[in-house]
Amino acid sequence: MEGKYSSDPEWASIKPIPLNDGVESGAEPLATIAYAAEYLEATSYLRAVMAANEMSERALKLTEDIISMNPAHYTVWIYRAKILFALQKDLKEELEWLNGVSLKYLKNYQIWHHRQVLMSRKDFFPSPPPKEPDFLMEMFAQDCKNYHVWTYRHWYVRHFKLWDAPRETQDVQALLASDVRNNSAWNHRFMLRFGPRDDEPDAGMPNSSGGASEKGRLAVVDEDVVDAELKFAQSKIVRAPENRSPWSYARGVLRAAGRPLSEWKEFASKFVIESQGNVEVKSSHAVEWLADVFAEENGQEAVRMLTLLKEKYDPIRSNYWDYRIRSITAQEVSASA
């Protein structure tokens, strides 16, 4: 059968290498796929140019063809990058092409890694390309929690040292304004405010290699930033009290500042109103917060809060709340012994 490549004079010099699934040597192949003839042909030409280590325009076009059928092919991307560099192609054009591919295959890991590889080239991208944040927002318009895009954006901020770039905060604000439950946006905000800067190794919390008491804590705390972030979290909690994201964010902020959870005791109490033996709850996360504060001061009260979660407001986690109750009771027993 005449194929796209076998009938093309441009490819006449190449002897394709067919797929060898080991059948002739006695193998019973696993996970066999009903490949389309086009894919089988294209990949047999890919193996041939790879074996020849060919750095050419036609090989570059071939990688594009393969990517359109199997964007997760891990060596074809590395091969493509090598050809681009060898032929000294304009990486800005490559980025334009990649934008289209990214919008077509939303959940792909290799695409975003390739973007990092391109963006790391200081000769083409000595500073962040002006349209980069716009493109990332276009991606978020498709899926505002796309993990690959967020992971890339995290890398991009560190690579170009953009922690304090106004655009980063603006975009986070806009995404939170359209969905206050977007935990990815909350996480990005935390990284912008409290993430390790370029003189520190990358880590998931400030001072991640510190001991138990220092881990997650900033060496130098700007109390104004901390206060502003806590206030920001409160303003978002009031609008959606059952949204866990800002409550977690506030825990992280207090930990980074080395300040206690009890600082929010009064705020949390406003969501747990007690009158004549009745408890009116406006947020289950506030009950959890109070339980954590009480665990440090008053075991009995902590158990009362945890029981409220276990029996009434969060029964899915009743085994966990029980586990917490047991650990508090055990502490009290050992303290009184």
Partner: protein, 428 residues
């Protein structure tokens, strides 16, 4: 309420179909993950206890030959035969285009173990020499070795986990050197993994990424829960160094440990993303209360607080099905039952979940009528969700399934075979 059942016979049919017939052509985008698909197929039948009865010894030998056919001459395994341009054509200049792949090497070894192979044809020394070449200075691992010996692929937790797992399988529980082969830098790896813990207690793909429980969002491109991978890597390391104190995140009572437990149990959710709940959004419906902005923030806060309604406790009916999500404020998905439960199992805290509601979710909402499990409610089955759905049920003792080792992700029967291998016996 009708009693739900695990439809073992249908699942056996599903996995046998995947084993013995061609996967449909839409799996082409997972061609480069064939080793992973092979793992799900073989491990699924093993978990169902029918691998021996439903395949012949000749077939199993043929599968073993295929895995060895995927072994790269310089050690380690490729993820699919598609990169193989022939041993005769292979040169130091082009071998980077047909490299050994870190996750696939782990899965190839595990499939061999399940099939009862003794790993005698595994290039063990070469593979153990290749592993440290895959490690970066910051402790993380890459996916493949590219041109000029560059470590290619993101420096994320998946590669850390499968590198640590490969080392575990090939070195055994002992820590002594194999034929003087240089080991990976264990301290750097452990430090990198622990640095990935985020402010909310979970683990991100890489440091400072949002805590996450899987990367296999769309199809099966490379299955991994980052939190699972982090704890898997640390578990493999600590299984091999029994005399050392485990890292804080594996130490009950430590802040790191307890905050991760909190994060993991918080993933269980009754938000299933069913059609009637929302149209197409990929996140639970917002209960946001819209307020016009005012100049006085303090006033707005207090006014907002006073006007908030109290919440009604959830009803028993609304909580009947509770699976797991992979990130805060996302819907439940079959594979997250596995990622979260396996991690809790590694931390010896599995009883903290609500097993009954998880079972209801898996069996009534994602178990498919033709066998296998789908990703979410009403979705067609695929290999990844089918295997992980079953493993999640196996963790909670579902009848008809063997028990599973949470880190190796294979049946206890297969683990016993691994532990009978020569280099395991020597140090036992």
């Amino acid at each position: 309420m009708t009693t739900v059942t695990f439809n073992r016979e249908r699942h056996i049919k599903y996995f046998l179909r995947c084993l013995k017939t061609f996967l449909p052509s839409f799996y082409t985008s997972n061609d480069s993950n064939r080793m992973l698909l092979a793992f799900f197929t073989v491990a699924g039948l093993d978990l169902l206890g029918v691998l021996q009865s439903k395949t012949t010894p000749e077939e199993r030998q043929g599968y073993i030959e295929w895995i060895y056919h995927c072994q790269v001459p310089t050690g380690g395994f490729r993820a699919f035969t598609g990169t193989d341009f022939g041993a005769d054509n292979r040169t130091p200049e082009n071998e980077a285009w047909d490299p050994a792949n870190v996750p696939s090497t782990f899965f190839a070894l595990v499939v061999l173990i399940i099939l009862g192979d003794d790993l005698s044809r595994v290039k063990r020394t070469e593979c153990l020499q290749w592993l440290p070449l895959m490690q970066r200075d910051n402790g993380s691992f890459g996916e493949v070795l590219g041109p000029e010996g560059n470590i290619e692929g993101g420096g994320d937790l998946r590669f850390c986990c499968f590198a640590a797992g490969t080392r575990y399988i090939l070195r055994g529980k002992g820590e002594t050197d194999v034929d003087g082969t240089r080991d990976i830098n264990v301290e750097n790896l452990a430090a990198f993994v622990q640095a990935c813990q985020a402010y909310d207690g979970g683990m991100g793909e890489a440091p400072f990424c949002e805590a996450h429980c899987t990367a296999a969002v769309d199809s099966l491109y490379l299955a991994a829960g980052h939190t699972y991978c982090a704890m898997g890597a640390l578990s493999f390391l600590s299984r091999m160094s029994k005399n050392q104190r485990p890292p804080p995140v594996l130490l009950p009572g430590a802040k790191e440990f307890e905050s991760l437990i909190r994060w993991l149990v918080s993933r269980q959710t009754a938000e299933l993303g069913e059609a009637e709940e929302s149209d197409e959004e990929d996140s639970p419906e917002a209960d946001e209360i819209q307020k016009p902005p005012t100049a006085d923030e303090e006033f707005e806060l207090n006014a907002g607080l006073a006007g908030l309604p109290s919440i009604a406790p959830p009803t028993e009916d609304s909580l009947r099905y509770a699976g797991f999500n992979g990130r805060c404020n996302k819907y439940a998905d079959t594979c997250y039952s596995f990622w979260n439960m396996a991690t809790l199992a590694m931390m010896d805290r599995l009883p903290l979940i609500d097993a009954a509601r998880n079972r209801q979710y898996l069996l009534e909402k994602t178990q498919h009528i033709i066998g296998g499990f789908g990703k979410g409610v009403g979705e067609p089955p695929d290999l990844l969700h089918s295997y992980f759905g079953m493993v999640a049920l196996a963790f909670q003792g579902e009848e008809g399934l063997d028990g599973v080792d949470p880190a190796l992700c294979i049946s206890h029967r297969a683990v016993r075979h691994l532990e009978s291998l020569p280099w395991w016996g020597e140090r036992a």
